[in-house]
Symmetry: none
Subunit: 407 residues, 2 copies
């Protein structure tokens, strides 16, 4: 029997409120240079410590052993969707990151301006990393002249430096396509083609993109150094089962950065706009307490300072998070989960495959008798090392909403 | 999406050298008679201890829960091949163990001399465990008279006591076949049949083996007590994806015993001949440092003394291994893995299903803050208890050769 179907059948009503608190990239590794203390271990976290006493802990594999996830797969896993089954294209992720409200069926591409020589050969794949203002100007030029291609709406949104995103909105479109990017200099821009030659929708999409190139290249042909552009990760927004229907939980997303709002929106969570700090996010939760069952609260700075390799700042970010926690606790959620979407170890200055620690607290979580919530401590927890996609089922169980299986 | 395909797509170039150090059967169980100390726990291992400080640890399930693996499945798992998907026939394993250089398509059978009565009924399945010299003499008699059957070359190689191996080398052959072995005395030798009745290749193979019996039995009919023989595990060498292509790592096998060289050769590793002791094996690694990416170094004696039930000797074997380790460390591999292919607990005098401990050390392994590498200690590690076939992916991740998945 299909496991998702079994869960669906067992799923009843939640017996309380659930808060999923994601410290992005919180997981880390203990290394000599940091005195063998991970940021969670070095941080002073009296409020998390108090929670840990009555919690179950474990560690989660974000995607599969050894695989380092991007933010997309990392969050899909946390939301209970196997990242290997529900793949989200790079273009879709970038579009979400720029705050574009994607609709089902939209095809999104990651693009960047480049430099072409007189024969159309790519001589600089990033056009010398033009300033963001130049990128905005070029995107405005393109947007002004290309609004539609046939029945397909074209949305062009500038990003940082040479980067931008193109979204194609119309009927009967789908990806993935091959890249319009030679990957190295000295070659012309290749034509896009459907990855699945049998897909009529992908064929239409490829035709639209070829037409887009025909219209767009002349518009910027006289610009220097950005007189061309490359497109990659061309795919449609996948059809993902809605969170609310899948888990019988009404979800709200309280995030600050567009990327995470976008990922939550992909599974149908309601995006809450407004709060800018973790304290404000927790206050927003309190305000909306009666309106939703499930609150996904995203904290960015643990990842940011992990990426920077800034150990002290990552420690401080965790302490900031901890210091704000009492605001949440004023209207104590019945199920509290604290974890990351992956690890971002400061010694690695980037995401990694290391299983991130997770803490589940509820009336029924039991206690693993751990004094703190840390990477090494979580190794000793009752949850063991498990795939992140299973977390949602532990959450449902702790919310008293999964019936007994069999007699 | 197929997980192997995902890994393949993420695989880049290794950022350094990898050493997989296999202490065969090193895993053990803590029992009262040994003062609750496993051999790893009782052994003095200053060099492994030093490594453990900066390592991740865990335990590995060789095949599946409760399953005791032979050396074949044990090593296939370590090499990243699911032993349930890539089955290697017992005949193939035995042939490899005897040092026969199998070619793709070769069919190998495990055989042993037996005693038949005047009606062809098996009265002793092992012919009273005849001495090895008698076995060698009988094999020589068979080899002298049977070199080919039709277009199929016949290779007969004696083993220990009553055991030998028959390899059939020709076109259009395959296994598996049913056994020519009644499994108990009082019955005649059954005819072999294809396990897949639709396979023309297996039919041809069955015909060749029936013909082999017709030719061979008369040759030894007057011998005593070995006047017959049984054949089991009749199968062809399976087509296994090459290690180098699968993981983008150029592998060398530095083993002493033919069986392990053979298993490494099955997946396309280069066998290095010469070294006889673990110190010599480590010295060989140093000599070949520039020529390969991945070094599989096999140490037999932990398993041997486990099989003998000799606790003190197994402890000593671990200490010998540890004492030689500094030779390896003179040209420190970037990724060092220490583990076994399975457990061979001395109280059981044989292989077992108990998950073997594993240690992974690299710049990015992080530290699990364990002072030693032991069975019980590994329970506390960040890797948890996981299938052995996943080890290679952690190795690739630690070698910095797996790209990020998704954005």
């Amino acid at each position: 029997m299909n496991l998702d179907a079994v869960y669906q059948e067992l799923t009843g009503k939640p017996q309380g409120k659930i808060a999923l608190l994601v410290m992005d990239g919180v997981g880390d590794i203990a290394v000599k240079e940091n005195n063998y203390l991970t940021p969670l271990e070095a941080a002073k976290t009296p409020n998390l410590d108090a929670l840990a006493k009555d919690s179950a802990q474990g560690r989660m594999i974000p995607v599969a052993p050894g695989i380092t996830p991007g933010s997309g797969p990392g969050h899909l896993g946390l939301f209970g969707y196997d990242p290997l089954e529900f793949e989200v294209g790079r273009g879709v992720i970038e579009a979400l990151g720029l705050g574009i409200e994607l609709k089902a069926g939209d095809v999104a591409a990651r693009a960047n301006f480049c430099t072409l020589d007189e024969n159309g050969i790519v001589t600089d794949r990033r056009a010398g990393r033009i300033p963001t203002e130049t990128c905005e100007k070029l995107c405005a030029m393109l947007s002004a002249k290309i609004k539609k291609i046939g029945d397909v709406e074209v949305i062009i949104q500038p990003g940082k430096e040479h980067r931008f995103v193109v979204v194609l909105r119309g009927k009967g479109m789908e990806g993935p396509l091959t890249d319009a990017d030679p990957q190295k200099v000295g070659f012309p821009i290749p034509q896009v083609e459907p990855r699945d030659a049998k897909s009529a929708k992908a064929k239409k999409t490829a035709k639209v993109i070829k037409e887009f190139y025909k219209l767009a290249l002349p518009i910027i042909a006289k610009e220097k150094p950005a007189n061309g552009f490359l497109m990659r990760g061309i795919a449609h927004q996948p059809d993902i089962p809605l969170f609310e229907q899948r888990y019988n939980l009404k979800p709200a997303c309280i995030a600050v950065y567009p990327m995470y709002k976008g990922l939550a929106q992909l599974v149908g969570m309601t995006k809450i706009e407004g709060p800018q700090t973790i304290a404000e996010q927790f206050a927003t939760y309190k305000k909306l307490y009666d309106e939703y069952d499930f609150f996904f609260i995203h904290f960015k700075y643990t990842d940011k300072y992990g990426e920077d390799g800034n150990y002290a700042a990552k420690v401080k970010a965790i302490e900031d998070f901890d210091a704000a926690l009492p605001i949440l606790m004023e209207k104590r959620p019945d199920v509290i989960v604290v974890t990351g979407d992956h690890s971002t170890p400061t010694p690695m200055k980037g995401h990694s495959w290391h299983p991130q620690p997770v803490l589940i607290h509820s009336q029924f979580s039991g206690s693993d008798k751990l004094d703190r919530f840390t990477d090494t401590g979580a190794n000793l927890g009752s949850l063991g090392v498990f795939p992140a996609k299973d977390l949602i089922r532990y959450i449902q169980a702790n919310a008293g909403m999964l019936e007994k299986f069999g007699a």
